[in-house]
Symmetry: C2
Subunit: 295 residues, 2 copies
């Protein structure tokens, strides 16, 4: 196969069943230069070991995934969640420092859903803003950017009350853009009539921390969390979204992040090859900078 | 059971397996005063017969459901869809005239999804605007209001490219408000961070044609089309949404519309009673006008 686009990063969730050592190895062996890590796999080996492994891999770190889940009202559970978020900030800083040159210390935040028994989505959203406000000084001190990720509105009740890019930017607007930005994931935002304008705004406000791609296709599977597909295998206009992201001046790595049982059941080497091929055909042609498939 | 709220309307989809005669009978016998009809059941008996049956029932007509599905590019399929929409406009006018005093000639429009093989959601949205423009003179002549219904974004690719209330209002803004309005359905809009503002806008622009209620609960069923629940059985803040709708001056009937296999498997009399009870506890307390459960 062709050498993967040098701006392609494999989000570790795409090869969920590979442990950290395997994920790093197959990603590097495929000629991919960057990876987004998940906390669970880092914790499984310990942070210091994970940092050494990442360093040895020669890969850039693109994101640390993920933290957040802080919509609950004040109390021990909220304190515990915020403490865990501070730990995740430290992890992101240490891992980014261990990654190859060009690594970025970006912690992806998924807000969390409605607390059990609550219908007060507006209140939950205010608590997201409060939580980000509490975490921002820690992130600033650690040199980490918190990337608020809006999730598709079908997850608004049980996973993420932040449902649009505009809303994520509104929350971020209270904070320094180097400390609080947004994650733009094609799957979550493609349907939004306002998405191109909000991507432009994210660029103008210097908050576009990371761009992630995968595709949308129906019918959705029984577990709608697992409905993400390889870039190009669905209906998302990745040409338009990618061009809009590029037009902001975004020139960093772009992750392929897929949650899909069938993809997870595939050998991770094949998954990475298919991710790279989808990226090459659906994303690379729209990259303004030196992207594109190198021979 | 208590007498149902006088502003409650039963959308016929809630008792999907009842034919028109049964739907009209059980709705009226339950003390409900209004009904929203579906075209299929009207066609099954013929329009003239359906109009007579509606008239005999003594029920008000709240909406005629539904038409639209006009996102395809120009060609025979689009011409056929638009001809069918014109027929639906005529049906709405005739049925509303046959319904009891207070009936409204409102045709609900669901835009349709992406045409097969297309990723051009922006183009599909432009074709929605064009279609509404073609239909508006027919609706005006017939005295029918076209109600553009934004559907939840999880249906954006295969069912309705109009995904937010703001977008529906933007499309409607080219036309006379008595001819083109919007349908506000709690299930489709509850997650939207901008929903209260857009409901206020819909009122200010005199475009709030109909308000429909049901509830949202996770996990979603395998067929996400069938994930609607009785008002009060989920997490939608019906107090806030209903209050916002009422604050616009909306004082007409409010439909309960549920697509749910378990609900459909219930005896329609029980379904209507449960709908009325959910409405009484979750919607009626927030009605500004003479609603509320009468003894």
């Amino acid at each position: 196969m062709s050498r993967p686009d040098r701006r392609l990063s494999i989000n570790q969730a795409t090869i969920k069943h590979a442990d950290l050592a395997t994920a790093l190895r197959v990603t590097a062996e495929a000629g991919v230069q960057a990876i987004g890590l998940w906390r669970e796999s880092v914790h499984a080996v310990g942070l210091a070991t994970a940092a050494t492994m990442l360093s040895d891999s020669g890969l850039r770190l693109t994101t640390h995934c993920r933290s957040g889940f802080f919509t609950m009202p004040e109390g021990p559970a909220r304190r515990e969640a915020l403490a865990d978020n501070r730990a995740a900030i430290e992890e992101a800083a240490i891992l980014a420092a261990a990654g190859a040159e060009g690594s970025t210390a970006i912690l992806v935040l998924v807000a969390g859903g409605l607390p059990d028994g609550s219908r007060d989505i507006m209140g939950a959203r205010e608590r997201v803003r409060d939580a980000v406000g509490e975490l921002a000084p820690h992130a600033a001190a650690a040199g980490v950017t918190l990337a608020i990720e809006p999730l598709h509105p079908m997850y608004a009740s049980d996973r993420c009350v932040v449902a649009t890019l505009g809303q994520a930017l509104d929350i971020a607007s209270d904070f320094d853009p180097s400390v609080v930005g947004v994650a733009v994931d094609s799957f979550h935002v493609w349907w939004d009539p306002d998405v191109l304008h909000q991507i432009e705004r994210a660029g103008r406000e210097a908050r576009l921390a990371t761009y992630q791609v995968c595709d949308w296709r129906t019918p959705l599977p029984a577990d709608v969390l697992l409905s993400r597909h390889y870039p190009g295998d669905g209906v998302i206009d990745l040409a338009r979204l990618t061009s809009a992201v590029e037009a902001t001046g975004y020139d960093r790595d772009i992750e392929v992040e897929i949650f899909n049982e069938a993809v997870w059941a595939t050998d991770p080497i094949e998954t990475i090859e298919r991710s790279a091929a989808g990226f090459a055909s659906s994303v690379s042609p729209h990259l303004r900078t030196l992207g594109g498939v190198l021979p």
